[in-house]
Symmetry: C2
């Protein structure tokens, strides 16, 4: 069979990785795909630097539109990142009847609905395994491996930077700022780490996961996003004493009242396998009604793991290129005519358990006051820990609650914080048992 | 699109599970597959019992050949187990141009090469996700998710019965016989547990994994198989003290000298995620040159997890039915013309580390004698533990070796066992660091 021709947009870390792996494992990939996959054109900002990297094995251009408008190219691989011009390039490629492979989670979380609609109308594929946890075939597992299941929920550690920082904070007792600085020095966090540490990157990925798990459209604007910037070392330590680890978890869950979609620091029982995912590794735990729990673990980022996902998509497209579009794996796992309309629940409506830390003056009756307020809101306590502080007249009270609705908890906290014996604001971190 | 018609052979645990899930999740599966999947004929031994189970929703017959010869059936699902008549039925179904879905690992490990050849010649698909770790889409991940990778090795806990027994032995300090009895009472082990505890079931699955990981034919007859029957509680305890857990591991590895394919009890560092896979759960760790390590975790057996895999295969076939055969995912991950000829290495040629336990009389010079013999065979020691026993004149010496070739170790052990101070035979368990 004749080679399939690929145009590559961007030759940064992942682009260069994709180029190199396609060359290094050419034979192995050919043995699987049955035809060779050739990068015939690359669009870059700096064509001289690109020429030094990849030699004269393919045409190098500085105008990306030359790639998406090139009639000889079958598949466009978009690895530029960002919204524009990636979005316009994707639409142009689709309009020109090309398949698209992208690692661009922001683009899909924000504009996936229109992009998949355009691809559907044109009968081309948009593949995005690389957009979520590159080293783990989680998109494929959800879209194809678990098709027999009604998915109940998915919970994932899907941002390596924050997991690295949290692991360092726990293992070395560091505070957030120090751990972040180390992560930056080691290349695990970017100079501007906002997208990672504020949870936005994880929320983009969670939005994609929620769509393919439940057969709904992308609703990034409805996602609740809370990062790890505020997390204190003391809470990691108290959590540990209670038998929990704190992870930045992306959670999407089907409930009778709507779909939950949220990213926030989360206490997980330390006996759970996913609580033991350390460093920059990713893991996604899926609960399906037929298989029960299954977990997928691997590297989430980096040149080669992401390139692995890009190339797997290229092989898939090479294999499915001749299938009639109705028989291909649907973009969002479910056939377009069956995409549901379930709304994402507002955060105040979700139900979970909570870790609470109060700093109180050590006087009779404080605990009675606090627990009475919680009881008034039907919030019951699962575990408690009282810890002396340096100042003998003050103490830390740490509580784990049973499940309650977020808005009830917020209302209770408002009353508790007004108590005279409660000093400063309370710390509140959500708890998930993942069962 | 019109429904795809399925004929089911066998209505035991998995057959009934498949029937029930297809009914229970009919809507969810239709939303994904784009067409409905209908079981239109079931072959069973006891048709009255079957009628009570599934009502009159489809034709029930007691002659399986009526199913595989029925011109209205598109896909035959074989869930009878065993070699005959399953083998003849599979060949007849293929000859009649039907796709086949099977959970029969023994059939594939022993006769997969001929079955896939026949399917290839006829242009039909034989799908077998359910044959290995049903609750985990590991076949799909290896065949499709990791196509960019040259797979270095795969190591898996792929037999739930033995993992349950080993977990119980460790957690409760039980001996093998007691743990086995409990497992049988709880339904985790069969009345005749031979296939599970002697490692044969795991070896069938490992044979399938080795074929799709490395693009070689099935070579079950070359697999090394050692079960957990001989494993003693004391070694689980010593391993723990050295920082290891003992698991029945299926390992297949590409080396410069050939492919390793082996199933045996294995010490794994207890900090590894896979060492913490407990009870009847399965996990498969894959090392690829591009993604690095990735792990897949879930239920390995049981009606519903296996049915989940069977139905995922049905959806895949429904989707790929119209693709031309050259563009489908190849049965053994690699195109038939590119299946390699690498041989499985004899066990004596493999390289690994070892846990050794010697029972010795506590006299001067024993250790010097033992270590001198090991040194003569170039075997160096990584860690050692000496433990008093009830009899003060005797002691246990436990050693972990560095990597060596199995035949060297066997030769060294022969000499060591001849030492007068060494009492009885030595215990030897392989160690894998999995890095």
């Amino acid at each position: 069979m004749k080679p399939i021709k690929v145009g590559l947009l961007g030759l940064g870390t992942v682009g260069a990785g994709t180029f190199n792996i396609l060359r290094r494992n050419q034979q192995e990939i050919m043995r699987r795909a049955g035809r060779s996959i050739e990068i015939s054109m690359v669009a870059v900002r700096n064509s001289e630097k690109a020429a030094r990297l990849i030699g004269d094995t393919c045409v190098i251009v500085d105008d990306s539109f030359q790639v998406v408008n090139n009639p000889n190219i079958d598949i466009v691989v978009e690895l530029m990142g960002g919204i524009e011009p990636a979005k316009q390039l994707a639409f142009t490629a689709i309009a020109n009847g090309k398949h698209v492979v992208t690692a661009n989670k922001a683009l899909l979380a924000l504009h996936g609905n229109e992009i998949f609609k355009a691809a559907q109308d044109k009968g081309v594929m948009v593949a995005f395994e690389a957009a979520v946890a590159g080293g783990i075939p989680i998109i494929k597992s959800l879209r194809e491996g678990l098709t027999a299941n009604r998915i109940d929920w998915v919970a994932g550690i899907i941002n390596g930077t924050t997991n690295f920082i949290l692991s360092e904070m726990r293992n070395k007792g560091l505070d957030f700022a120090t751990a972040l600085k180390q992560a930056q020095e080691l290349g695990f966090a970017e100079a501007d780490p906002t997208f990672d540490i504020d949870g936005i990157d994880a929320a983009h990925k969670a939005t994609i996961i929620s769509a393919i798990a439940f057969g709904i459209s992308m609703q990034f604007d409805k996602a609740y996003v809370e990062g790890i910037r505020q997390l204190q070392a003391v809470d990691i330590s108290y959590a540990e004493q209670l038998g929990y680890r704190i992870k930045l978890l992306a959670i999407t869950k089907r409930t009778a009242r709507g779909i939950e979609l949220r990213v926030h620091p989360t206490l997980i029982p330390s006996t759970r396998l996913i609580a033991n995912v350390e460093g920059a590794m990713n893991a996604v735990l899926v609960q399906g009604d037929v298989v029960g729990a299954s977990m997928y673990y691997g590297k989430g980022a980096g040149a080669e793991p992401t390139a692995s996902a890009v190339i797997a998509d290229l092989v898939d497209i090479a294999r499915m290129a001749t299938a009639d579009p109705q028989h291909r794996v649907p973009h969002l796992a479910f056939q377009p005519e069956f995409i549901g309309t379930e709304a994402i629940l507002p955060m105040s409506e979700i139900t979970t358990s909570y870790y609470l830390r109060l700093h109180v003056s050590d006087q009779t009756g404080v605990l009675a006051d606090v627990t009475r307020i919680l009881a008034n809101f039907d919030i019951s306590i699962d575990a408690m820990l009282q810890k002396a502080t340096a100042d003998e007249s003050q103490t830390d009270i740490i509580m784990l609650t049973h499940q309650t609705q977020e808005k009830k908890l917020i209302a209770a906290l408002e009353q508790i914080e007004k108590l005279q014996s409660v000093l400063g604001s309370m710390t509140r971190i959500r708890v998930e048992k993942l069962t």
